[in-house]
Symmetry: C2
Subunit: 144 residues, 2 copies
């Protein structure tokens, strides 16, 4: 057994200064700024930016084994228009547009963009999930 | 501006059944089970497992562009012994050991393992962070 929990998401980045600049352009505030790493207080968890080489070393494996893109970090919103606004803001900040927000097969509204290292963010509205004002989501459990 | 928020972490997986079996072995409970995707209720956010090909298609890019490993998902604990227990439980469940938990340069205690697709999890004790009983972490902000 391990707890069903995520405490920190670390993104390995090629250029820490450039990545910090990108997230600053999104309006994000680094908590307790320091050299060599950056942390952002999220909704009950933290996001960290850490140089790829340092991350590889910390994990005890070659940098060449690291990759990006197979994890999607999603931000959920209460309305389609809020999804559009967030996607446009990210692209304005230098994100690479992957998919313009659009109605999707599962009944919601979703778009994708990538940050400077190719880490993929989804912005979405999902009418089947509960969303609190502070951004936490939950799926109503019907017990089946 | 975009909100400082993560609502859902999606892991692209090569074999959904095998991945679900792995997380079941960790003792995790899928919320509202369904075909083709799996969700787990986390601490204020959700974790999803989704086939790599479907994730690539949903993002509108080739599967070959997806990779794994440059994002570390950390679970924080209140004591070194709890880190050891969680690491051992994961390895027993089939995780690939990357780094046995040990004292690390930043003053904490940390180990790494990889899930069946190479997604990297860190288990750690950080004496400088505040940790609530439900696993949320925060860094005391001194305003500097």
């Amino acid at each position: 057994m391990t707890p069903q929990r995520v405490s920190l998401i670390t993104l390995g980045v090629a250029d820490l200064a450039a990545s910090k600049a990108f997230y600053a352009r999104l309006g994000w505030r680094e908590v307790r700024p320091q050299d060599g790493i950056a942390f952002y207080q999220m909704n009950g968890l933290l996001l960290g930016l850490f140089p790829l080489g340092e991350l590889a070393k910390d994990q005890g494996r070659p940098e060449a084994r690291l990759g990006t893109g197979a994890i999607t970090l999603a931000q959920n919103f209460a309305a389609d228009a809020e999804v559009d606004t967030a996607w446009a803001a990210a692209v304005s900040a230098g994100a690479v547009p992957l998919k313009k927000p659009q109605k999707v097969f599962w009944g919601g509204y979703s778009g994708y963009y990538a940050d400077p290292d190719g880490h993929v963010w989804e912005v979405a509205m999902n009418p089947f999930w509960q969303l609190t004002e502070d951004g936490r989501v939950s799926i109503p459990d019907t017990g089946n």
